[in-house]
């Protein structure tokens, strides 16, 4: 362990990317619900003007249109568009994606069952024979295969199943969704709600190709371009504590990334074990023009293998992502709360958050034992250098992080910005304490991850 702060190169003084377009949460939600309203209403308008359909057929039409729209939303949420990642936050996008995914799978099933039931009712055949007849229609075998793939991906994402699967396996299964969407695309354009309306067919197709372009740009082309431009390589792997290592990555033109303390990258280490997966890890030190540092705790197979990452490994870093930066700050005094390995983004903020004379910066760092404390020397040195304060909360007792405990340690807590990162259990408890202690919700800045 070293006593130095940061690295040989000075921390970057360049601020956040200026003029970058950002889509905030309320704008995104308004657009999302408006789109759903329009798409869901269209089959009803058509039905009112056309021949009468049985109720189950109407339900199938509305569910089908909403499912097609929902797939677009799912893809946009995971496109890693900087406008969404910065404005909404990767954690919120991931939660919306998870929630929307459940709705889409349900809508697809309702659409399939409803359409077959309506067919069976109108042709006077049974459900099984109706299924067979519907499957024999043009573009239907592909759509049915796509539905099966979607169900497999969805099943792999159910919490109980995901706990049993390796992250790499889950990821591979989840990628089946792209194939599923491609297989169902022809069926969407041939659906009775779009056929006969050439403008709508073109609009629907354009929506899908634009989203595909968005994915291609931010998930493939930008990382490849960044890899070629920055040529990142691992230059040091340093043990910070039991099962925890810091990985120092060196590269070129890193100031162009406009990375900020508090943000994270998705790191793809180009070794046989890791090239297929991008792991999200926060910066654990303020980025410099030539170096980035991440700190990894061995939690699963992937992060455990990273402990023995060879120096010289090439790295592709996608990002930066994350909205919990100094840009969120609205008050003069700041409280940082970290638990366990959640110290990583807090350490970077502690090092680089602007601190004017008369302002107070306090870091509360909770760990069960002194051995579990990471960066202790670095934190003490930063505190001494910047005139900031750091408090270590050790032991099994969480009382210091109760509402009363927080008020005792930080009497002006309601007048501060609070940044927090830690395990879900800890952050849930502290969030309640902060609310009880009178902190307005808009002054709490956190990104919740449970990788």
């Amino acid at each position: 362990m070293t006593d130095t702060i940061g690295h040989a190169a000075p921390p970057m003084v360049q601020g956040p990317r200026t003029g970058a377009r950002v889509i905030d949460r309320s704008t995104a939600l308004t657009a999302l619900w408006f789109g759903a309203l329009v798409v869901g209403t269209w089959p009803l308008v058509l039905a009112a003007a056309g021949p009468q359909l049985p109720l189950v057929g109407m339900v199938a039409h509305v569910a089908g249109m909403l499912a097609g729209y929902g797939v677009l939303v799912l893809l946009v949420l995971m496109a890693r568009s900087p406008a969404l990642e910065r404005g909404i936050g990767a954690d919120v996008l991931a939660r919306w994606h998870s929630l929307a995914g459940r709705w889409v799978v349900t809508l697809v099933l309702v659409h399939a069952v409803g359409a077959i039931a309506a067919w069976a009712e109108l042709t006077g055949v049974g459900f099984l024979l109706g299924s067979w007849q519907v499957l024999g229609m043009p573009a239907m075998p592909a759509a049915a295969a796509g539905t099966v793939l979607m169900l497999i991906a969805a099943a792999a994402s159910v919490r109980a199943a995901r706990k049993k699967l390796k992250h790499e396996t889950w990821h591979a299964l989840h990628l089946l969704m792209y194939l599923s969407v491609a297989l169902g695309f022809a069926h969407m354009l041939a659906g009775p709600d779009l056929v006969g309306h050439r403008v709508l067919q073109i609009g629907w197709a354009l929506a899908y190709t634009y989203v595909a372009a968005l994915l291609l740009q931010h998930r493939v082309l930008t990382p490849l371009r960044q890899a070629a431009r920055h040529r990142l390589r691992v230059v040091e792997v340093r043990e910070e504590g039991p099962g925890v290592v810091s990985i120092l990555v060196e590269g070129h033109h890193l100031h162009e990334l406009h990375a900020e303390p508090g943000q994270f990258f998705r790191w793809r280490f180009l070794t046989p074990d890791h090239w297929g997966n991008a792991h999200p890890f926060s910066l654990s030190a303020a980025p410099t023009a030539t170096t980035l540092r991440l700190t990894v705790k061995a939690l699963g197979d992937g992060s455990r293998n990273l402990q023995a990452l060879p120096v010289g490994t090439w790295v592709i870093a996608e990002g930066p992502f994350g909205a919990v930066t100094s840009a969120r700050r609205t008050h003069r005094n700041v409280l940082l709360i970290a638990g366990g390995v959640g110290i990583t983004p807090m350490r970077a903020l502690f090092e680089a958050l602007p601190l004017a004379p008369g302002e107070d910066l306090l870091l509360l760092y909770r760990a069960r034992t002194p051995d579990e404390l990471l960066f202790r020397h670095e934190l003490d040195a930063i505190a001494a250098q910047r005139g900031a304060r750091v408090g270590y909360l050790l032991g099994p007792d969480r009382e210091p992080l109760s509402a009363g405990g927080l008020r005792r340690m930080v009497p002006d807590i309601a007048e501060r910005d609070v940044y927090m990162c830690g395990s879900p259990g800890l952050t849930d408890a502290v969030r309640r304490s902060l609310r009880e202690a009178g902190l307005p919700p808009e002054q709490l800045h956190e990104e919740r991850f449970a990788f």
Binding site: A139, A190, V195, Y208, Y210, A213, Q217
Partner: protein, 86 residues
């Protein structure tokens, strides 16, 4: 031109190319989409009564049928029929 400006213009060109490609592809898919849906539900079944001689009533036209005067073809170089010439 600075490196940053060069980078921006390259990024702009790349985005424009990607957007153009997506537009062409979207138009192509949209224009090639079928005109008739292959998954249309069949029209609701209508119960038809069997034809019965007794139930068939002769249709009497409401207005008297007037024989249509054949149109006289226009003669070459001459004038066609006019209402006042009949």
């Amino acid at each position: 031109m600075s490196g940053r400006h060069a980078g921006l213009s390259t990024t702009g060109r790349r985005s424009f190319a990607l957007l153009s490609g997506a537009t062409v592809l979207g138009l192509w898919f949209g224009l090639r989409a079928p005109d008739v849906t292959p998954v249309a539900l069949p029209p609701a079944a209508v119960q038809v009564q069997p034809a019965d001689q007794a139930s068939v009533a002769p249709v009497v036209p409401v207005t008297p049928v007037v024989p249509v005067t054949p149109i006289v073809p226009r003669q070459a170089g001459g004038r066609g029929p006019r209402g006042g010439d009949r």
